[in-house]
């Protein structure tokens, strides 16, 4: 947002607040689809992962995939939800070319999960609890592809790829607890983090395995009632969600300020990424009647207490617990957020810690130099040839003054290539002759030889040009091939520089 937009939003925020709810559709990463044994895979050739069931051929019946229930319950537990011990599927009926049966098998009035929450940490603002109204199971529809154009307008024809039809979805609905685009984006990011952590989805917004729609209304600060709710769709990233909500906030508040509050209507608007605005999706068609009724072809879903508890005990450490653990170790809020952002970095960091490294040093190296190389090479922490143990060993050597931090940075690329894996970092630095010179006598000798080679500068220093200390530091470092212990060097150098014969 440009400068005027930001200040406009700030001014409006003094009198108004946004009320935001989010609906997320998360594709579950089961091996096969929800109601048939077709493979659940992204990117295959169109209409190759289909069968009579997911194509809605006459006489076919759905057969519920157990893994869908397992992953959905696991997700519900990770979202602190109550799990319905008895629930059912319902048919949601409407016509669209990507919906083969003319109805979607979904859950209407008795969702599998309800009444949960997640705690979202917003940097510099603290933690906020966002309610989860419900999470229910349903199937995805096929995908429409337009020939000759990006979208419907200007296209020569539309085609349908049914590969995605029947893929299991978990629809997660939040309470309208968010008050800004930022909070909404952070909520969605945390939701994704949790889904990845428990391994039920790869939550890829660009590939469509996680889709988020937002509902935005505004009201005067302090007003008890909600304003008119507007649905916004077609945001492809968390960032876009934030911008779309911020745009809606300004649009709706401005209408109120211009005495045009009745122009805020309950409608669906699409976010336009190119133009950075929302626009109405279609002319008013009236509210859809989905004619929900219980799916007669699938028996009730009954989950027992042992089933639920079994899944609960299989939950890994969730992101919020990880952040709390890192915080307990003394790390800053920022460090906690970075190190717990995903399993890849957290797992590596935990490995370094469990090998005995000091917390703060481990955090700095992992988030700093190692992360920089990770990003540059475009790899994952799990793909590093430098084991967490080796990094821990290097940190320990620095801590014990065996090598300097500077040397550490220099040998890091070699370590990352795995050169120290076989014999350990200690042997590596020894073989390379990189062990720090921490012996005062040895240092004094080098300093003296530098003095002998630079009598002019020595005289200038002793004559008052104390800036030359830097020159001598560099020279001694060079003479020692970088091995001089920096702290000790300073002490020895200073002492010897200030000596008068």
């Amino acid at each position: 947002a440009n400068g005027t937009e930001t200040s406009k939003a700030e001014r409006l925020s003094e009198s108004y607040e946004a009320v935001i709810g989010i609906e997320c559709h998360v594709q579950l990463n089961t091996a096969t689809k929800a109601f048939c044994s077709c493979k659940n895979e992204y990117g295959a050739k169109p209409n190759t992962l289909v069968c009579p069931v997911c194509l809605g051929h006459p006489g076919t019946l759905p057969s519920l995939n157990r893994a869908v229930v397992e992953k959905s319950v696991l997700a519900g537990l990770a979202l602190n939800c109550q799990i319905s011990k008895e629930s059912k599927f319902d048919r949601k009926q409407y016509f669209y070319p990507d919906l083969p049966k003319g109805y979607q098998i979904s859950q209407y009035d008795i969702p599998l999960c309800h009444g949960g929450y997640i705690d979202v940490t917003i940097p510099d603002e603290g933690t906020k609890r966002i309610g989860i109204t419900r999470a229910h199971m349903e199937e995805d529809a096929g995908k429409l592809v337009y020939i000759g154009s990006d979208g419907l307008s200007g296209a020569q024809s539309s085609q349908v790829d049914y590969n995605r039809g029947g893929v299991p979805l978990l629809e997660i609905v939040s309470e309208p607890d968010m008050r800004s685009g930022k909070e909404a984006a952070m909520f969605a990011a945390e939701l994704r983090r949790i889904m990845l952590c428990i391994g039920v989805s790869n939550g890829n917004m660009a590939e469509g395995s996680m889709r988020c729609d937002v509902n935005v209304s505004v009201r005067r600060r302090g007003a008890p009632e909600f304003g008119t709710k507007v649905e916004v769709k077609n945001m492809n990233s968390f960032n876009a969600m934030q911008r779309a909500i911020d745009f809606e906030f300004i649009r709706q508040c401005t209408l109120i300020e211009e005495d045009k509050e009745d122009e805020i209507v309950q409608e669906t608007r699409l976010w336009d990424e190119n133009g950075q605005f929302t626009a109405p999706m279609r002319k008013k068609e009236g509210l859809a009647d989905y004619r929900y009724f219980p799916e007669p072809d699938i028996p009730d879903i009954v989950v027992s207490e042992p089933f639920i508890e079994g899944l609960r005990s299989s939950l890994p450490e969730l992101p919020c617990a990880k952040r709390a653990r890192y915080s307990g170790l003394g790390l800053s809020e920022y460090d906690c957020l970075v190190l717990s952002d995903d399993e890849d970095i957290a797992s590596y960091f935990d490995g370094v810690l469990s090998s005995g490294a000091a917390v703060k040093q481990a955090a700095n190296w992992v988030m700093g130099d190692v992360n920089a190389i990770i990003k540059a090479q475009g790899i994952k922490f799990s793909e590093l040839r430098m084991s967490p143990k080796s990094l821990s060993e290097m940190i320990d050597l620095i801590d014990k003054d065996v090598i300097s931090g500077k040397i550490g940075k220099e040998i890091l690329p070699d370590l990352i290539e795995g050169q120290a894996e076989q014999d350990g970092v200690g042997a590596f630095v020894e073989a390379k002759g990189l062990i720090q010179i921490s012996d005062e006598g040895a240092l004094a000798e080098i300093v003296q030889s530098v003095f002998d080679e630079n009598p002019g500068q020595l005289a200038e220093y002793r004559g008052g040009k104390t800036k030359l200390k830097g020159f001598f530091t560099g020279a001694v470092m060079k003479a020692s091939s970088g091995r001089a212990n920096p702290k000790l060097l300073q002490a020895v150098l200073l002492r010897m520089l200030d000596e008068t014969n």
Binding site: L55, G56, H57, P58, R91, Q93, F95, P97, P100, K101, G102, Y103, V160, D289, R291, Y292, F293, P296
Partner: protein
């Protein structure tokens, strides 16, 4: 046919009693709401996109059922029709099951009238639906049942008996059915 059935069975040594099921006849309207609602939904896959022809080619009876089923599921009507019909279904089923706790089988004529000629009732769908009065409760309850040839009427047309058994009791049901099967003129009872 009912009188004849009682006589024949008693002669075989079967103990027969007449019972009244209060809810039985309510199964018919409940069935026609539920079956048509499901049909309207099941038939929506015939959109002509992946297979098949235009929906206008559906026959008038099919179209009738789709329209009625869609109506019964519509917002504002769901509670009064579909939901109510499911509740009636539960009552009908419960009464039949309770009866079958005391008795081994429920016997009735298959149809309230004999077979009618082709085209005789086509213009009156409700008249045709009424013919299902005795049999739809089997669909609603899911209890096992057989239609057993029994007698031939004066007009040369068959009049069959419906025998309804307990849940999962198909074996005994089929055995009993074969005993009273009129087409084999078995005689001799094994009770």
């Amino acid at each position: 046919v009912t009188k004849k059935a009682i006589e024949t069975m008693e002669a075989m040594g079967v103990s027969v009693e007449e019972v009244t099921l209060e809810t039985y006849s309510h199964g018919l309207p409940a069935y026609y709401i539920l079956a048509l609602s499901e049909a309207s939904s099941n038939l929506s896959r015939y959109d002509g996109i992946r297979y098949g022809d235009d929906r206008s080619l559906f026959s008038s009876e099919v179209k009738r059922r789709i329209l009625m089923g869609t109506y019964a599921l519509s917002s504002g009507y769901y509670d009064a029709y579909y939901k109510k019909a499911q509740q009636v279904r539960t009552l009908v089923t419960e009464e039949m099951e309770a009866c079958l706790k005391e008795y081994d089988f429920l016997v009735s004529p298959v149809a309230p009238t004999g077979a009618y000629k082709l085209g005789e009732k086509t213009k009156d769908p409700l008249e045709m639906y009424k013919g299902d009065l005795m049999t739809v409760n089997v669909n609603l309850s899911g209890l096992p049942a057989v239609s057993v040839p029994f007698v031939t009427g004066g007009d040369g047309l068959p009049e069959n008996l419906q025998v309804i058994g307990r849940r999962w009791d198909e074996l005994r049901l089929l055995e009993f059915g074969s005993i009273i099967d009129g087409s084999h003129q078995n005689g001799g009872a094994e009770s």
